[in-house]
């Protein structure tokens, strides 16, 4: 097979296809200890068929693969609800300091004072930013934070005598909210979004009763709108003994502007990989710290980092805790990055982040209004949702628009979410994109809207310029090839 592709986009086979018997890419010291033989009955029978490659083979392989990826470093990623902002490189460097990277979680407390001090400070920063009282850094991602948060609510309700049966969730919520509720043993009651794109206090009041353990609410919601009735909503839930869970996926809209805790939220998760610049890494790792009001503090996962007279310590003895949600202390490497970012930005910097993120979203909204249908008229925060209502008239769908955008060099926005907007196109620019970039993106979107009218087929067959064309997802699901077939 020729390695050449289109331009300098090289073809690259699978590792297993370029493996050559006897080639090696490792460097180990010579063995200085006598060779021992474990009992034959325990010995592996068949070696794993790992590839055999030299270091240059491996470097070239993964460098080529990397070139097939779109990334924040390549261009603008308008993914709604994902907060694809610039990932500072100083964060990467400090997280790799030997005093962080090569530290073991079971070292004695006195030998990890730096780690514990950083965690203790980060907990305090996140509590201040969210207006809450205490924070756990243990959850590994947003959904894991949700699991932790609902476990806390369940523990609180159980301590009051009844865990209750249901969780209220607006229909605009992320799928993780209902999925998490099921894992914690709750039935989901879906709350219909009001005509203005917001959750109505009256809709909550209609469903709130003594069987409801709590409400999960995203604010600003996934339509990018601030829940203006949030205070009343929290009061209604509290008045019937429920608690309010805040999904912090959209915290980028609120830094130093409005604190969930002040609005009545009892428990909230952060996505450090969204708001606080830790890289997405192609899907993770993330970190999902959970902040709570005082009433939930006794139930936080073990262990806790506590400050004592002679320094920081790890405390395990917390009888009311919901238990552990993860081994060790959470995704510490991500905590270092988020801490570094907060220290670099300071209070004024974080405030500016939110202001410019919201300005950018409103700018896109203004520029694309008219070319794309806006389902809601009210003021936008950090993201904006359009629909394909106008394009549908010429048979073009949101998916076609998304695919065509790649030919213009942009990643597609989040599409068909939130579910409350038919054919949703959800755009979150973040604060780190410049006006020129937004203009180029908006020009592309406007141009696609024109193409949709004149040449719908051009869009149906898009993308045309990418390394690979539209992929057969049905075949993938039907034939299920989930690993390399060594026999072929």
């Amino acid at each position: 097979m020729s390695t050449g592709g289109r331009g300098f986009q090289f073809q690259e086979p699978l590792l297993f296809e370029v493996s050559r018997e006897g080639r090696e890419g490792f460097s180990l010291p010579a063995s200085t200890k006598p060779r021992r033989e474990p009992p034959a009955a325990l010995r592996r029978l068949n070696d794993p068929r790992l590839p055999e490659l030299s270091e240059p083979d491996v470097i070239r392989h993964f460098t080529r693969l990397s070139q097939w990826n779109f990334s924040i470093d390549t261009n603008f990623y308008p993914l709604g609800s994902c907060t694809m902002k610039h990932n500072p490189r100083v964060n990467e460097e400090v997280a790799r300091y030997t005093g962080f990277a090569h530290v073991h979680p079971y070292q004695p407390d006195e030998t990890v004072q730096g780690c514990l001090a950083l965690m203790h400070a980060l907990e305090q920063y996140l509590a201040e930013i969210s207006g809450m009282d205490a924070v756990t850094l243990q959850p590994a991602a947003g959904a894991h934070g949700e699991l932790t948060g609902l476990l806390l609510i369940r523990a609180h309700q159980t301590a009051k005598g009844n865990p209750r049966k249901k969780i209220l969730i607006p229909d605009s919520a992320h799928g993780t909210n209902p999925a998490t509720s099921s894992m914690v043993g709750y039935d989901v009651v879906q709350i219909k979004t009001g005509r203005e794109g917001r959750t109505l206090a009256s809709a909550i009041a209609a469903e709130m009763d003594e069987d409801v353990a709590g409400l999960m609410i995203t604010n600003p919601n996934t339509l990018g709108l601030y829940e203006t009735e949030i205070r009343d909503i929290c009061d209604i839930v509290h008045s019937k003994g429920g608690l309010v869970y805040g999904d912090g996926a959209n915290m980028n809209a609120l830094l130093s502007k409005a604190r969930p805790g002040d609005a009545g939220i009892d428990v909230l998760h952060f996505n450090l990989h969204k708001t606080f610049t830790t890289p997405h890494g192609g899907g993770g790792p993330g970190a999902g710290p959970v902040a709570v009001k005082k009433i939930l503090e006794p139930y936080l996962p073990v262990p806790r980092v506590v400050q004592k007279e002679n320094g920081f310590a790890v405390e395990y003895n917390r009888p009311q805790s919901v238990g552990r949600v993860k081994a060790f202390f959470g995704n510490f490497g991500m905590l270092v990055r988020a801490y570094t970012y907060i220290r670099e930005m300071g209070p004024d910097g974080l405030k500016r982040v939110t202001e410019l993120a919201v300005l950018n979203a409103n700018y896109i909204r203004s520029r694309l209004k008219g070319s794309y249908h806006l389902p809601f008229e009210a003021g936008q925060m950090h993201e904006v949702v359009f629909s394909d209502k106008i394009q549908k008239e010429s048979g073009v769908t949101t998916l076609d628009v998304a695919k065509r955008l790649m030919d213009y060099g942009f990643a597609p926005p989040t599409v068909y979410f939130p579910l409350v907007v038919f054919g949703a196109i959800m755009i979150e620019p973040t604060e780190t994109e410049s006006k020129e970039t937004l203009d180029r993106f908006c020009d592309a979107m406007v141009s696609i809207a024109e193409e949709a009218k004149k040449d719908p087929d051009l869009l149906h067959k898009a993308p045309h310029q990418t390394k690979i064309r539209r992929l057969d997802e049905v075949k993938a699901a039907r034939e299920l090839k989930l690993r390399y077939d060594f026999k072929s």
Partner: protein
Amino acid sequence: MRYLPHTEQEIREMLKTVGVANIDALFSTVPDPLLFKRPLELPAALSEIHLRNHLRDLSRKNAHGEDWSQFLGGGCYSHYIPSSVSYLISRGEFLTAYTPYQPEVSQGTLQAIFEYQTMMAEILGLEVANASQYDGSTGTAEAIRLAVAVTKRHKALVARSLHPEYRQVILTYLKNEGVAVEELPFTPAGTIDRAALKKSLDEQTACVVAGYPNFFGVVEDLSDVAEAAHAAGALLITSTPEPLALGLFKSPGEMGADIAVAEGQSFGNAMSFGGPGLGVFACRKDYVRSMPGRLVGETVDAEGQRGFVLTLATREQHIRREKATSNICTNVALCALAATITLALWGKGGFKELSRMNYDRAEDLKEKLAAVPGVRIAFSGTTFNEFVLIPRQKPTDVVAKLIGDKILAGIPLWRWYPELAEGLLVCVTEMNTDEQIDRFVAALRRLS
């Protein structure tokens, strides 16, 4: 501010396009009493120079593997990470890419995950592996949830020798799903008590969960456990905190495991105070539609070229919502990439050689320590690169006394195992030099 590109002039132009007078007007939908009006009480901004100095100072308050002799394992291991790994995973195209939902612009991540799934399935000896879970502990809890879904039974038998923090996570995850968790005791060899297993296995049992190697470093043949479980209609789940052992020892699949989970941190990921880890998750193909997490599958594009996509998404939360197999969304893709690169470099030969080297070095230390008067080895079973030592003095005292020698001596077991309060879990890898090993033996001799 270097991350914020807007000039004052641009801000004015943008406000004009939006049609508002100033930035505050953009927040007019937030009810006034809820607007936050004071500055956040956070430390003032730092320049990059001061930031680095500050973080460097904090990191220096930690004892770390490069200056200290470190004999700690227990689910987190110090292994050599080839220079190419950090270099490749730092490439912005990998580092700053999103989850590969749009396959046309994510083929790099998707192909790498497909290669990762292949390698993990091979190492664990099972048919399919997913794109990752958060870590070994949450992966093990999810494995039990999968076994419950597949068998429609509601009891899990969990070995007491399984990593104690994994057992805690299992309890946290399962307590509201109506699954009873029973513990299986260990024998003086450090292996699962077969008589107790036989007694507890019944028609309610969904699965048996075994550490392999277990928390004490003990490697046992679980073929008979698999047979017993299968005879009762239950599944065998293995949970491997140190998958480097699988270069030398039987794979879970070879013993009849139905679901195999591992903590893949040993493959090219730094210890980093215990996280992020890499939850490796593999199982029989029959269960694939009930599996948690993302899966990458091979397909073709409109021109017939090979390509990769995320597949079977109907299991996942963003499609299935409350009926999803798990709530997991973000996983640890970059850690999986680091593992894939590391294993590509080690290759078939390096994986085996490194595994052997860890085994040999730990055996060497074990023999030397066993020869120290008053010191003994707690379990008679075969171990991989760690083992439980019973020193003459209290384990916490041994640890405290060796700090002065810059030796991190091991993990005292009292916190999790009152019956092993005299035990110290000691680990050796290729990172411990011969000199470190000799100094450790000499120090323990001194304390005897």
